[in-house]
Homo-oligomer: 395 residues x 2
């Protein structure tokens, strides 16, 4: 059995790159960018009117002119025009190109317009209401860098520079294997000694949130069958996630099978609760990482968030945010284990506070529906006081 900090470090020390892939722009949402995104032209690409009104040459204003003959209309989406006389004006619409020899825009609110003439009711400043070419970013500027997680705002930038396809980090191929003869399908009616499969579905749902479409496989407690299935999965998957089968039971064939298949055990059992019988290993040949979680729902759910998510983020080269929350009530950890307690957080005065969820041991399924994270408590003689900051694992 190893300490939590050691186990955590070992998991993070064993990440590798899954490579890159091209995806369509809308599929890149939430993914990690793997290329530099450059401005393919100036932004804005031309001197752009930001108001509806008239475009004038400020020289006329300096010359005392406040009444302008309207030569025509500059609409958005039409090529640049030119004032034939700098004492005239063009009506101009938001988004249109400012005429070649105009330099200021006056909005309708500061004009009266009558019979083809615009009269200025409020004198403009030179250069007003124009968004100048290249003032956001000159052509060639780096707008987004690799490692950025693509947000809806970034989609706007990608679209603007014409990236209909985007190079992103590949996500790992994950297979979730459930084991246990007591498990039946969700739609089935279990016999009195049976229960429905739930951990593997919960893992699949959590992976779905990360954009990963995991494969699900169920295996009964037969060593031969488990061995054959795992060997096959390792050929195609980057990650093998197991739930159950790693205790000391007679039918817990998983650790034995993994060893026989040449998987290197990095560790088995961590001084933590829940989630103690966690088995973590690597199959060097197929570059498959194995997260073998304990069978009970809270243990599996906790270890997925405690270990797998930071591992995934590190593999994708994205910072995993280290959060802390304020304890809303005192708590103690007089055990010699690192405890992960289920909490429900709430916002108060700009801080995130955590209430403990009343639970009934690590087998308590129903508490899972209410938690939105775990707090981490190292062993301590004294208490963890109300108001103290503790590490928080968001779920």
């Amino acid at each position: 059995m190893i300490l939590f900090q050691e186990a955590y470090k070992k998991v993070l020390d064993n990440t590798f790159d899954f490579g890159d892939e091209q995806v369509a722009i809308l599929e890149s949402m939430g993914r990690v960018l793997a290329e530099n995104i450059l401005a393919d032209r100036d932004f804005p690409p031309f001197d752009r009117a930001t108001k509806d009104g008239i475009a004038i040459n400020y020289f006329a204003i300096e010359d005392g002119c406040t009444r302008f003959k309207i030569e025509g209309v500059a609409a958005a989406g039409t090529p640049q025009q030119r004032l034939s006389n700098v004492n005239n004006c063009l009506e101009i619409m938001t988004g249109a190109v400012v005429p070649e020899n105009a330099d200021s825009v006056i909005m309708y609110e500061h004009l009266t317009i009558q019979e083809g003439w615009a009269t200025v009711t409020k004198l403009p400043n030179k250069g007003q209401d124009i968004h100048y070419q290249g003032s956001d970013s000159p052509k060639g500027a780096v707008l987004l860098e690799p490692g950025k997680q693509i947000s809806a705002g970034a989609i706007n930038v990608l679209a603007s520079v014409g990236k209909s396809e985007v190079l992103v980090k590949k996500l790992p191929k994950v297979t979730v294997i459930s084991t246990g003869n007591e498990l039946v399908e969700v739609h089935e009616r279990p016999l009195p000694h049976q229960i429905r499969k739930s951990n593997s579905l919960s893992l699949k749902a959590a992976l779905q949130k990360q954009g990963i479409n995991a494969a699900l496989i169920h295996l009964t407690d037969e060593k031969e069958m488990i061995s054959k299935a795992i060997r096959k999965v390792m050929e195609t998957s980057d990650v093998l996630m197991l739930s159950g089968g790693v205790s000391k039971g007679k039918f817990d064939f998983v650790p034995e099978v993994l060893e026989e298949l040449g998987v290197e055990k990095v560790f088995h059992r961590v001084a933590q609760r829940p989630g103690k019988p966690f088995w973590f290993g690597l199959h060097q040949e197929s570059r498959t990482t194995i997260f073998s979680f304990p069978g009970n729902p809270v243990s599996t759910f906790a270890n997925y968030h405690i270990y797998f998510l930071p591992w995934l983020y590190k593999a994708l080269r994205v910072d995993y945010p280290e959060r802390k929350v304020v304890l809303a009530e005192p708590i103690q950890n007089k055990t010699d284990l690192t405890l992960f307690k289920q909490v429900r957080t709430f916002w108060k005065n700009g801080s995130l506070h955590a209430h403990l969820i009343v639970e009934n041991g690590s087998g308590d399924l129903t508490s899972l529906a209410n938690l939105n994270g775990f707090i981490r408590l190292e062993p301590r003689d004294g208490i963890y006081d109300k108001g103290e900051l503790v590490p928080f694992i968001k779920t």
Copy 2:
């Protein structure tokens, strides 16, 4: 022009229910539950061993017995057994049913096993290492209630009670319409006076994050065409989202068209920046809500998060979290408008702090890639000081 608070209230006053629908369990992830989820049996459904070891009757221990003949094995997934003699034991595996006349489990770590006999090396407590039938939830108990947003943890609960199909709140059907003759497709090479469509894609990506698969339509600035398209969309969509075409320009036909089609204008123009020329209305007949956002990227992006998301959450009967963040630097708002400033947040001592993003007016596209929210600043004579809490709109 109306004040922000008034506009916000009017938007929230105009929500309606989109109804419910059945979806497969894994598709229910992130959706809002629309039914009570009951325990279809006791949880756990039987007295369940939580350790691998032996099951005994504590009477034997009280009687001084520390050495037990092993009668057989109780594996997970097999029917309940019975000790033929209460001085004997059964080996038992985690997840197995505790034998009828046993009441305590002793784990392997506290045993030595030899030639069919188990010798206790550490005396047990009566009833230990058993997760008792119904101790989490008795049959019939309400495990989840309508209005809950379904998390990966909740998926575990749904699976456990056999909900392969789940009743959830329907999401609105949304159509995003972009207008403007200056716009070309993302994969196209724009002429000098043209730009690529980006707002509609960014909105689609943001909606995707809410589980909404929006339809995209582009219309050029022709009144007839806009009118025809909007009429058609209103027949099938719950929400019509427009970007651009709501300024005072000659080709901004949208407000006029909406009015002609019988859409009730709730308001047009809000005393805020960015996002001032926001048009909000309702078509009573088709029950379509119209969010007509200004054309520039930051305005559209801001108003989507400021107005549409709280509207959506309210329509789905889910609390929209009101967040506040700590200002990392002083700022002022000496205008008479409600300002929404782009920020990037970071965690520090359990609080969320916000740095202002240097921006170049409301047309600055590139800042969109870096923000992760907006802070809201009402007009004020004095400054907003570093360390002050201000309302935060997460993006």
